[in-house]
Every structure is written in C-alpha cells, then in structure tokens.
C-alpha cells in the first residue's frame, strides 16, 4: 500500500469522467481524495453517460487525458471488459461474489433502489394507480429515455413489477406508461435537477439516492416505493487498462473501497447511495450508522436485473416504447 501511495503521488494526477459532484456525494469524495494524497483530480464530462465514458477511453487511448477509472452501468461494463485492467482492492473479499467479476475486471461500487420522488403538494402517494388520477396531469416523468438511459429503463421496470409483471417481461410497465400518456399525466421533459427545482417535473421515477430531498433541493420532496417492490441497481468500477496514471487509478479504487469513516464506502453512504460492502461493514461495525439509518426502507426481496433480463427489456422497449407514449 505504501509503495502504491508513493507511486501515485509521483504521478500526481488522476483523470475521472462522468462523476457529477452532487451525485452519490462524488464532490466530497473527490475533495477528500485530493486532500489525503495531494493528487490533482481532473474531472471531465460530469453529466456524461456510461457509454460516453467508454467512448472516451477508446477515443483518447494513449493520450495523457484519457480517463484512468470508470464508473459505469453494469450493461456497459459487461460489454467492454477488454478495455479494463484487472485489479483486486484490499477489501475484495467484502464485495459479495455476485457483484464482481472473478478476475477483478469490474466490481460493483454503490447502488440503490428505484423510487418515485414527488412534491409535497400531491399529499401522500400510497399506490401506483393514484398516478393515473387527474391530480397528476402532465406531472409524471422518467429520468431519460428508457431505450437509452439505465435509470429510465429501471423506472419502467418499477412500474412493471408494481403492476404484477416479472423481471423478464417488461410489457406491463410499458402498458402502465401508455395509460399514463392516455390520461395526459405522462410528462416527457428530461428530468434534471433544474427541471425538478423549477417544478416542471414534479413526479420522477429515479434511483432513491437521486431522489433525496437534499439532492433535488426541493423542500418537502417525498419518496414512494410501491410495496413489496425492491428493484435495485448498482454501478461498477473499472480501471482503464491503458490508464495514463495507473498507480493513481489503483489508489483511487483503494480509497473508494476503504471502510474508514472518511473512506469511499462511508462517503457514498452519506450521499444516500448504498455501498457494495455495506453488509460486511454492518457486521464489522465500520459503517456510519446515522447515515445508514436515513436510507429509505425497502420491503420485499430485492430484485436485480440479470444481463439477459435487462437486454430483453431493452429489446422490448426499442419496439414498443415510442408506440406506447408517442
């Protein structure tokens, strides 16, 4: 570890990509890393998508500006393993086996559950069907186009599971959004921090760590999770195999998977995201319990879409989404 720190300090710089400072506490995480190790972090394209991260790795291959480390959705990680260098962090054994690639090409980092965030003026939502009532005219939005954005695909899947669908067949979710569209409650605006604050997208299907009142900045913002539906999703870390700063990249991973009180795992937790080592940390007593207690509670058996379930859903959406809500 000391040799790694020395080598990373010698490199002096780390290139990261697509890490919004307000997303899962990344602003604080980057600052803490810079302060601890005296390494400058260059953060590019903070609002980029996972696919754009991978594109940057390919296009800037060999340049000193190429991203050193990636934080990508699972589908993108699985499709691009040949771009990654295997690495096992020192807390490797605390990452559940299902949430990492055995040789260390990628390893899940943090995640959360799908939830429906909404403004306090709507009262309290207790069931999905309430969203079809006239009160929600033009109000209900997703976080992007489900044929492009992972968060939006999972939004449709949340409705699907709540309507009695199964993870391998998303059609009931699409049917729900078709109904929403027909009663005029579907809102096709791109939901961003700005539109939520402006009130243009007052009801948003999104990951629970992006649906925190502190994140969206709307006083009284509430969260509803359909009962018994725990649809989870995790992002994954990977190191660019041609990283311009290989030691800093590995030190960054060590920092992110550190269970120290100001290590990456607890910092993600303070940003409302669930760190991948949460279970091990809870038994070891290294978790920040007050941050853990503020997480929205989830009932039911957690569902994580498998690779094939996710691609089946995407294929179905490619043909049916535009028809259902266009």
């Amino acid at each position: 570890m000391n040799t790694l720190v020395a080598a990373a300090k010698k490199e002096g710089t780390l290139n990261v990509i697509a890490l919004p400072p307000t997303w899962a506490n990344y602003g604080t995480i980057i600052n803490t890393f810079e302060k601890n190790y005296g390494i400058t972090v260059n953060s590019t394209l903070p609002d980029g998508t996972s696919q754009q991260e991978v594109d940057a790795v390919k296009q800037e291959n060999g340049s000193p500006k190429a991203p050193d480390v990636l934080d990508v959705g699972l589908a993108v990680a699985l499709a691009n393993t040949k771009l990654f260098a295997p690495y096992e962090v020192s807390t490797w054994s605390d990452i559940p086996a299902a949430q990492k690639e055995p040789s260390g090409l990628w390893y899940e980092d943090y995640g959360g559950y799908m939830a429906i965030g909404y403004e306090a003026k709507f009262g309290t939502i207790t069931s999905l069907s309430q969203l079809l009532t006239p009160k929600f005219k033009g109000a209900v939005a997703l976080n992007g186009n489900p044929t492009a954005a992972n968060a939006a695909l999972n939004g449709v899947m949340l409705a699907n599971l709540a309507e009695g669908g199964t993870p391998s067949d998303i059609s009931k979710g699409v049917a729900f959004f078709h109904q929403l569209k027909q009663v005029g409650n579907f809102n096709p605006i791109s939901a961003t921090g700005a539109t939520i604050k402006a009130g243009s997208t007052p009801v948003v299907f999104n990951w629970d760590y992006l649906n925190l009142s502190s994140y969206v900045g709307v006083p009284g913002w509430k969260v509803f999770v359909p009962s018994g539906v725990a649809l989870g999703g995790y992002y994954a870390q990977a190191i660019n195999k041609n990283a311009p700063h290989p030691a800093a990249a590995r030190l960054w991973e060590e920092f992110l998977y550190s269970q120290a009180s100001t290590g990456g795992q607890n910092l993600w937790l303070q940003g409302g995201a669930r760190p991948v080592e949460q279970q091990a940390m809870t038994s070891a007593g290294t978790i920040n319990t007050s941050a853990a207690s503020t997480l929205p509670s989830v009932s039911g058996t957690p569902v994580f879409l498998s690779q094939s379930q996710s691609s089946d859903a995407a294929t179905y959406l490619a043909t049916n989404w535009a028809k259902a809500v266009g």
Binding site: G73, P146, A148, A149, S190, G199, S200, S311, A314, T315
Partner: protein, 288 residues
Amino acid sequence: MTVAATTKTGVRPSWAGRRPPAPAWVGTVPFLAYVAIFLLWPTGIVVINALKNPNGAWAFANLSELGNPLIRGYFIGSFKLCLLSAVAGAVLGAILAYAVASGDPDGLIRRLYLSVSGVLAQFGGVTLAFAFLVTIGPVGLLFHASWYFDFPWGIGLIYTYFQIPLMVLVFMPAIDGLKVQWREASENLGSSAWQYWRYVGGPLLAPAFLGGALLLFANALSAFATIQAWENQIAYIVPQQISTAMSSEVGLSSVNVASLLALGLVIMVAIVMTIYTLLQRRAARWLR
C-alpha cells in the same frame, strides 16, 4: 533566373523578374481542403459505417433497414415536424417580411427587425426549450397549454420561434427586388390589387418563397438540442434516435444504426437542397 529564362527561349516571358503566376485553381485550395476535411471526410465515414456490420464487414443489407417501420417512423416524425415548422415559419415570416419591407427602407423599424431576426434565427437549443417550459409548460407562468407535448404541435410552435426570423432574413431581398414600377405599370394597365398579386407579384415571389420554405425545412431537420430538452423520454425525430443509438447504456447502442440514420438525413437534405438550388436559380432572374 531571368537570364536563364531569356537565353532559353529567346523571348522575355511576360512574368520575367516576378514569381510565376499560380494556376487558377490554387486559389480554391483552402476552400476545397476545408470542404474535404469538414464535409466530405465525415460524410464518407458516415456512409462507410452505415454499410458495415458491428464486426467491420460490409453489410449492404443494412440499407433495407431504412424500410423497417420503426426506423421509418423516425423519418416520418422528422418530416412532419419539419413540414409543420417550415410551412408555419414561411407563411408568417413572409407576411412579416412584406410588412417590414413596405415601410421606410432606411427606417428604424426595418433595421430593428432585421437585427432582431438575425439574433433570433440563431436562438435555439436548451435555452429556447426552457424559455417555453417556464411560460407554457406544466407550471407555465403565462398559461398551461394542454397540447404542449402533443407531437408535433408543441415542439412545432417552439421551432417557429427561430424559423420565422430566418424566413424574414431570406425573404426580404426578394421583396426588395419587386420594383415599384411593375406595380405602377400593372395599375396603369388597369389591373386590380388581386390581379397584380395573381399575375405579377405572386409568380415573381413564388420561387423565393418556396426556396425559403425549403431552407426552413432543412434547418428544422438538423435541430436537436431544442427537442431533446423539451421531450427526451421518447425519440420522435431522427437526430434524437441517432443520439440514442450513439449513447444507449442499456445495450442498444450501435454506431452502424446511428450512421444509417445519419445517411438517411444526408439523403433528405440533399434532395431538399437540390430543389432549393433550382428554385434559387429561377428566383435570381428577377433579382438582378
């Protein structure tokens, strides 16, 4: 060098003592290089990618995908939106241009309209979408239009915001080209206002009007940021679907599909611009 030249031919060349004259085509090199690098090269990449499969092998069968109802739907969406915004923009822009042109040619109003049009014709993208969002969107300051998300009406209305000023700019020269003597001549021959417009003014302006409408059509075809900020959860038009095909993180991304869609757009623009050029040539006869 001068000596050598004279002894060789025995006649002093006219450029003796100066640099030899460059061939005429040299002057076009910067332009041609620019066009080659920024237009032909990228277009070539698009065409090649459109005709390959993800493994890099040739796949001319890709072209049949343009007949796929799903893909055709995006082209129909683009066509609808462009047609609506071009017709609305052309009609309203032409009326506005005529109203402004019939005023004092050096007056304040005219200068004001032209400079404002110059600015607004370039006003688009996220700023424009957001401006409409806060005026007629779900929490609109002015009113809450219930049809604002009905494609293509809502977004078509937004597009007219930059289409009308563009039409004013391109149509004004045509109206200025209408000589007042023609009107006087037709009135001297006893024609009514209706007859003047039916037999003289209308036919003269028609090519410029149609040309302007086509330009607006092509202009709307490539607009992307505005609609993407307005309604991005569904892809209605080709540029939106290109974006999905380029950046999908749920496993639907394909450079080849994106290129194929782009190729379709290139063909659409080529058709529109060819007709535009023909019309411009016809219109130019009267503007000398």
